[in-house]
Symmetry: C2
């Protein structure tokens, strides 16, 4: 009873959780650049210096915010019977999280040693093991998937930066496609060809296609090692 009273805080007391929650709200509403210790302090009705009592610096704040989003993704990714499907679900979960919170993409690709990345790596690794990848190849397989996901994370994070005005995704893709179509045909034949497909393509499907490509590569590796053992 006494301890309960001792540990009880005022309802409006500052907590790391409350700070992270407010940071996420600012990031989601107004984007990555809007997250400022001053803006955060104003939202929490406190001084900017007070935040440093609960959070070491801005990097820790962003890492904590990112971890909260990613942790929710990984607990949601229910275990599927086939490891391939589990990996697809996990990757799509991360994709959708980045789509909903573009700043998560930027943060994930910026700091690969943060806890959120480790969480994803663990999730992938478990499924890689379940897939029957030989132990010596598990590290490479998991990090390959990880790098692919982080690469796309960086891609989608820059989306909002590209559309300074109120351009939507389709308008952005169209303007990029138009720019690519005007490139020199001799120097950039491939990009010009790709430009024609850019407008009608689905980011999510393309992401999944990449995952499947890597999974196919991993499976042929398993098959080959099986041949060698046979």
């Amino acid at each position: 009873m006494t301890t309960e009273i001792r540990t009880r805080r005022r309802a409006d007391a500052l907590t790391k959780e409350r700070i992270v929650e407010a940071a996420i709200a600012i990031l989601d509403q107004d984007g990555e650049d809007a997250l400022t210790f001053r803006a955060l302090a104003a939202r929490l009705a406190t001084g900017s210096g007070a935040l440093y009592w609960h959070v070491a610096d801005k990097q820790e704040l962003l890492a904590a915010a990112t971890d909260q989003i990613i942790a929710a993704v990984l607990t949601e990714a229910v275990s599927r019977p086939r490891p391939q499907d589990a990996i697809r679900a996990l990757a799509l979960g991360v994709f959708d999280a980045i789509d909903a919170h573009p700043w998560v993409g930027g943060q994930l690709s910026r700091d690969p040693w943060q806890y959120a990345v480790l969480r994803i790596l663990e999730g992938i690794g478990g499924q890689i093991q379940a897939l029957g990848v030989p132990e010596h190849a598990q590290f490479n397989a998991a990090t390959a998937l990880m790098s692919f996901i982080l690469g796309l994370a960086g891609q989608y994070a820059s989306r909002p930066r590209a559309c300074e005005d109120g351009m939507d995704r389709v308008a952005i893709l169209e303007s990029v496609a138009a720019k690519w179509a005007q490139l020199d045909p001799v120097e950039h034949p491939f990009v010009r060809q790709v430009a024609t497909m850019l407008a009608g393509h689905d980011d999510r499907e393309q992401f999944l296609a990449g995952i499947d490509l890597i999974l196919a590569g991993i499976e042929t590796g398993i098959a080959r090692s099986g041949d060698a053992n046979a």
Copy 2:
């Protein structure tokens, strides 16, 4: 003759090329954070405002610096007889460039629409076509490789940030491995297992292994489409 005189500039005149060259020198010597318009102006013995006559803003400056490094990589990547080898050489060229200039990694992963990225995509795409990938699958194959490369680019870019002190790569990997080894065995079995391999692993080899994994996936896709046509 007259035009020659008219177009001739003073030897110390500011040029975009001179500015980019100085920016690369600062980035290489002192890292990404050291590149400041003030530092750049001081090195070029001019005012900070003068730079804006030749360069729109910092983003354009970084994109131009990155493009210079990447352009050199792509012209060096000689055409190999086998497209797979060409892709490996191209990817390793980018890897080595990022290794030599960590800021290039950060810039590449930050802005996927910059010209340097387009250059890489074109290089990959040409080899994807040479590989015989059916046209409808070329886009996915090329962007999958691209995302993987950009993902690793972001990874290595953060290297110098992680070593605030004079830690070398081995020391960093050892400290990360030590941290991972202390994680909860129940929650993070895979990362703990991977930690034991972390110290003795070769980044370059792991990168190449990832490329080969995706190439294997692409080749099985080709084989399957061949079956369908037969």
